[in-house]
Symmetry: C2
Subunit: 253 residues, 2 copies
């Protein structure tokens, strides 16, 4: 199993506090030592970092903990390998260009028989179940829409496609096209939406505390999604099972 | 205009010395301040770093100068924008998955009318001429080969496709599929192949000197390609104009 972290905000927002917790779970406070990756959207571009090293001991993860990259949508993943060896090409998030957009995908869970499903345009580079499932979704999206679909049309298509993949096993997943952060969950994913009045929060995984009112303006809205709650003094809610949760503008629609 | 840096070695090799020179040209010793990027192949995976900040002042570039990532194929680029604004999505190298491989591309030059050429499967994410030309090449490769072609078939196809693009202007380019590093040059690209007996070299751009015999074994072969020679005490050769140069196993075929 792996752990996921997603963020969607209405203004470019620093993810370092949450990423610090996730990174610790990659080999320090958690067993997810088989690589990690993160995608930061900046407009239509996405900045990606991948490392097959455990995130708790990764030089690149250390840089990201110190360096305030701001983004409206972030997807991160720490990996504990089950299918597919520990290798750069098997670290999530995976990305493909569809309709001139960078689409990213990170998954937690195992999917039975998914590698037997035939693929078309999009082919996996690595050997994980997850990337195969992503390519299958990318193929279906491409077949359904020849150009970038409207927000609501993509919402509906991803709901259908994720439900179909989820029949094969555990499918906790974060997907983004740079406009929306999608979460689909068959087991557990938690989320929190932070907005004014902002308070103080302390990480579960290390002795790190932040006062969000120092970092934000009263109009900011920031949704964070994680496999397990990242802070000990806030109320995290579970996402509904078996359906697509749609985050835009820093909130759950 | 921009500057390119490529490396192909027969063993995973540290590029930090050469990257230090290129990074200085991004806003310190050169005017290429409009972003930079680098791709490191590790097997079938490629680790990519992109930053719209000048490389001479980039935190991520600083990390890479200190952190010994080893790779058999590297493509790097510092950008001076002409077409396409300064933005993350306009920084090279660009990448697309073709035949389950990460294909990367970085370009220096301007191409007249290339954005009017129709595209198919592959669409640009940003607004540069360069990415449009890359998508055109990717489309043609995909149309010609349904699965990963042999080394020699890909060599021939890229020779033809690059020659066709080069009719539109300056087309100095580095391309890789993770097996081969291709260089195509219509203006100037220099290269050097370092092998035993290894000597000492000093960068043109800063007071940095390395004794390669401390860093290598007698069997290592390392080819480096750059828009301008990076060292002042070695002999760099010009690549032939108007035809594809093929680097495999640390040498020019």
């Amino acid at each position: 199993m792996c752990e996921l972290l997603g963020m969607n905000a209405n203004v470019p927002t620093d993810i370092r506090f949450s990423f610090a917790a996730l990174a610790r779970r990659g080999g320090a406070t958690g067993p997810h030592r088989d690589g990690w990756g993160i995608a930061f959207y900046e407009g239509r571009g996405a900045r990606m970092f991948h490392d097959p090293q455990p995130s708790a001991h990764s030089e690149i993860a250390r840089l990201l903990r110190d360096y305030p990259l701001k983004s409206e949508i972030v997807i991160a993943h720490v990996r504990r390998a089950n299918r597919g060896r520990v290798a750069l090409e098997n670290t999530h998030p995976f990305t493909r260009e569809i309709w001139g957009r960078a689409i990213t995908f990170a998954h937690n869970g195992q999917l039975k028989g998914v590698k037997k499903t035939p693929l078309g345009l999009y082919q996996p580079i690595g050997t994980t179940d997850s990337e195969h499932a992503f390519c299958w979704i990318a193929d279906r999206l491409r077949a359904r829409f020849s150009t970038l679909p409207s927000l609501s049309a993509l919402d509906r298509a991803l709901q259908e496609l994720c439900s179909e993949v989820a029949e094969r096993g555990v499918f906790n997943v974060l997907i983004s096209d740079g406009r929306t952060l999608y979460a689909f969950c068959t087991k557990t994913l938690y989320y929190i939406v932070r907005k004014a009045p902002f308070g103080v929060a302390t990480l579960v995984d290390e002795d790190l505390r932040v006062n969000f009112s120092d970092e934000t303006t009263p109009n900011d809205c920031v949704a964070v999604i994680a496999s397990n709650p990242l802070t000990r003094d806030e109320v995290w809610s579970e996402l509904p099972l078996g359906r697509l949760s749609v985050f835009r503008g820093g909130g759950l629609l």
